[in-house]
Amino acid sequence: MLSEQKQPFLEPTPEEICEKRLYQKMGMTTEEYEKVVQHLGRLPNWTETGIYSVMWSEHCSYKNSKALLRLFPTEGPQVLQGPGEGAGAIDIGDGQAVVFKIESHNHPSAVEPFQGAATGVGGIMRDVFSMGARPIALLNSLRFGSLDKEDVRHLLKQAVAGIGYYGNVIGVPTVGGEVVFDPVYNETPLVNAMCVGLLSHGDLQKGIAKGKGNRVIYIGASTGRDGIHGATFASEELSEDSEEMVPAVQAGDPFMGKRLMEACLELVQAQILVGIQDMGAAGLTSSSVEMAAKGESGILLNLDAVPQRDPEMTPYEMMLSESQERMLVIVEEKNVAEVHRICQKWEVQSVDIGEVTDDGTLTLIHKNKKVTSLPIKTLVNAPMVYREANEPAYYQSFATVDPVQELAGIEVEKAFYQVLSSPNVASKRWVYQQYDYMAQGATVVSPGSDAGVIAIEGTKKFLAVTTDGNGRYVYLDPKVGGAIAVAEAARNLVCTGAKPLAITDGLNFGSPEKPEIYWQMTGAIQGMQAACLTLETPVTGGNVSLYNETAGQAVYPTPIVGMVGLIDGPEKITTHSFKNEGDIILLLGNTLAELGGSELQQCITGQISGRPPQIDLEREKNVQKVVLEAIYSGWVQSAHDLSEGGLAVALAECCISGNRGAELAIKTDLSPLTFLFSESQSRVLLSVKVDHLEKVAQLAAAYQVPLTQLGRVGKSQVSVTVNGELLIDAPLCKLQQTWEGAIPWAMSSTSS
């Protein structure tokens, strides 16, 4: 695509673009093109066609998803800035706010995993510091195929190295995240990155261009030909030709990113900015157009002034380039010199490239000629696409599948080791030890726990942050799976002692043009909406990534929830590791025969079917209340959310991380296998001191949440007896070896 474009290249005339339908190569449909012609009352030229095509791509316009995104609750007393800016902001008291957002870089990472992942991190950080916030934490959410495949191992290795490279060099700790492996992601990995920043309320910035005559200043790296049409690339499915899209993948420079960040934060402190926005997807085009649209202004850019890596670049190339580490700021004329001074200090170039106008038009000047004149309103109002939703056949046929029956007869101990060594359950140390998770010296709870916890300097407050998503559940039942994604993220935070505040959503789906995929999107978003409302965690922004397909094969619908919570005192910070021998182990919540979409089902049968675990959001809310109140009362020694692999895995993780054994004696009407591996929702594994047992029991009863005493924390042996039968009896070190060794072992089969 567009690869024939070599210098010297004669741009097609407006008539050629129309007659040969060249707009289609830019990802534009004939209907959309005709709409453009209608808006302009003439045929658009090459540059203008390019600008419309990126502004009207899904990535910039949300034309396929906007109708659904409106379902999200976006308001709450804690919300300072909802969706629509670079990132959302929530109040955490004392005049401070947290700014955070998640973003996908799936398509670039599939083609060039190191740079794709690195620039994903760089891009989301710019979204956060363009709000005026200093980035204090990074997270990610990754999906890869089966580690048996060499190309998957290559993708994982490179993507992890790329994430680490950008975050480590720029000096922001990666404190949490998740990695999930499933064959559905073999050809189509998902790489989502989240950044969390901190600011004082007064420093909150907006991406806005207003005030006729104000200057438009370009800051950062020069513009090259990299990433041209990246936004369009991200809005198509992957194919063999995707390899040819390599020039559409940008290269990142975290050292430049760091200087740019320091310069921008100093500009914020100088209080001279009218507006600031990252040149992210669709670069100069989207940043200038979106800022002008917000200010109901026009904008004039003199492209000859744009710093270029090649002086022969055309307006089309400059406007569509996605070169990294660039920012656009708007300032009053009198402050231009101060911008240059601050940028010089950080050795970052800054150039005056234009001005704010009041004509509502995007005007581009190149070599003293007006080369583009487009009404801004039409650029930011892409024609919405209303897709059809159809329940897929698999959903009906799974209604009658009974996974419990399917898995009957599997030996508990064998299942235990198989699940524990599944890369989805096993320790992710191989991944997170490549990230500087202690940068800035404020990390209190490191990766590998339910959530990362970081201290807020100069206060007794802490932020708990997590990313969560389960594509299997969403595939089996989008509504239920969507609700679970939000509920589980909240439960993770609650287990660390944090009150959940708000979420950012990373929505990863296949092609919305397929009714079955649109059905998945609709259900997932409805489920998330319901959970956000019940749990009072509004959505402050996010990202939509569609067309995650290769050769027509879509990934599981994978909405990722990035959530931020607040812990208002060090004594409330709780981890999942067992602390003291003799503590009582309690299971909060109800266990049902729910194995559909479970890790056990995937491990044993190699696929998933049936219905996922159900969720009662009122019950979920009550479970979270019990855990938080118990933690606040000082009754909880450890708390761990039950998720993939159910009780068996949660128990192993509490034992391994605490370096303590356990002795459990369980009574249940379910089969032992079902009880141990069910992934029923709204459950938490607690350990408490004997003295606090009664208090916790009363608290659970008050919220009508079942509480079961399972056993005690032990020394170095893990034993589980169900209905009088000893089913697991192993030294802790054996579990440890299994759990810690699985991923390094899988990765070592590659030649490194």
Binding site: A161, G164, N168, F255, Y432, Y435, M438, A439, G441
Partner: protein, 224 residues
């Protein structure tokens, strides 16, 4: 004791600044890489991070900064110089400590907490330790694999310049398990470990005593 934390483009010196202010409660200044005069300070810290984005080689470009002239003068005057992570790499590139660091032998960036054995206590940086004591210190680097030629190694061993050795695991392949070394006169310490982060982790790790040792040395010398 007056502390200077050197700031190069790409350094992350704020962690050190915070520790000296909050934990040691001593006066500290951030000193920009273009300065030359460090005569006002008793201790000079070259912090961790990625000065100049690790371009060319870690520490190679920062070692050519004007401020390094000031560091040389301070080292000759017996001032305490502490290079942490990237700061150690800069000291090696500047020739203020012998040897070099290579990429980690497993070719990956590695972050974690590492056990370390204290080998010497007769230095300004280790006065608050016992010889043989095992402490835990955070680390995070991609190029920490210390290397020098056999003669240099022999001389380091002979003149007791190796003051920390990795204990248990060697996280980067460093020669002879070297985790920290001083110059011949003992006033310049370089280590790939991150003692400033040990302070943030809280008591019980032992890394904070590198800082308190320097204070004790200052008291003995009468600078505080």
């Amino acid at each position: 004791m007056r502390f200077a934390v050197l700031m190069f483009p790409g350094s992350s010196g704020m962690e050190c600044v915070r520790i000296i202010e909050k934990f040691l409660k001593q006066p500290v200044s951030k000193v920009w890489h273009r300065e030359r005069d460090l005569s006002n300070y008793d201790v000079i810290i070259l912090p961790g991070g990625f000065s100049y984005g690790d371009y060319l080689r870690p520490g190679a470009l920062a070692a050519l900064s004007p401020v390094i002239d000031g560091v040389r003068v301070a080292a000759e005057h017996g001032k305490l110089i502490l290079g942490i992570g990237n700061g150690f790499q800069i000291l090696l590139e500047a020739g203020l400590l012998p040897g070099t660091v290579l990429p980690n032998n497993h070719q990956q960036f590695r972050c974690g907490i590492q056990r370390v054995r204290v080998e010497q206590r007769e230095t300004p940086f280790t006065r608050e330790y016992q010889v043989g004591e095992v402490i835990s210190l955070p680390f995070a680097h991609g190029h920490g694999n210390y290397y020098c030629d056999p003669e240099t190694l022999q001389s380091l061993q002979k003149s007791k310049q190796i003051i920390f050795r990795y204990y248990g695991e060697n996280p980067n392949g460093s020669l002879d398990g070297i985790a920290g070394l001083v110059n011949k006169t003992g006033n310049v310490l370089g280590t790939m470990l991150r003692p400033e982060r040990a302070v943030a982790l809280g008591a019980g790790f032992g890394g904070e005593r590198i800082f308190t040792s320097m204070l004790r040395f200052g008291r003995e010398k009468g600078v505080i």
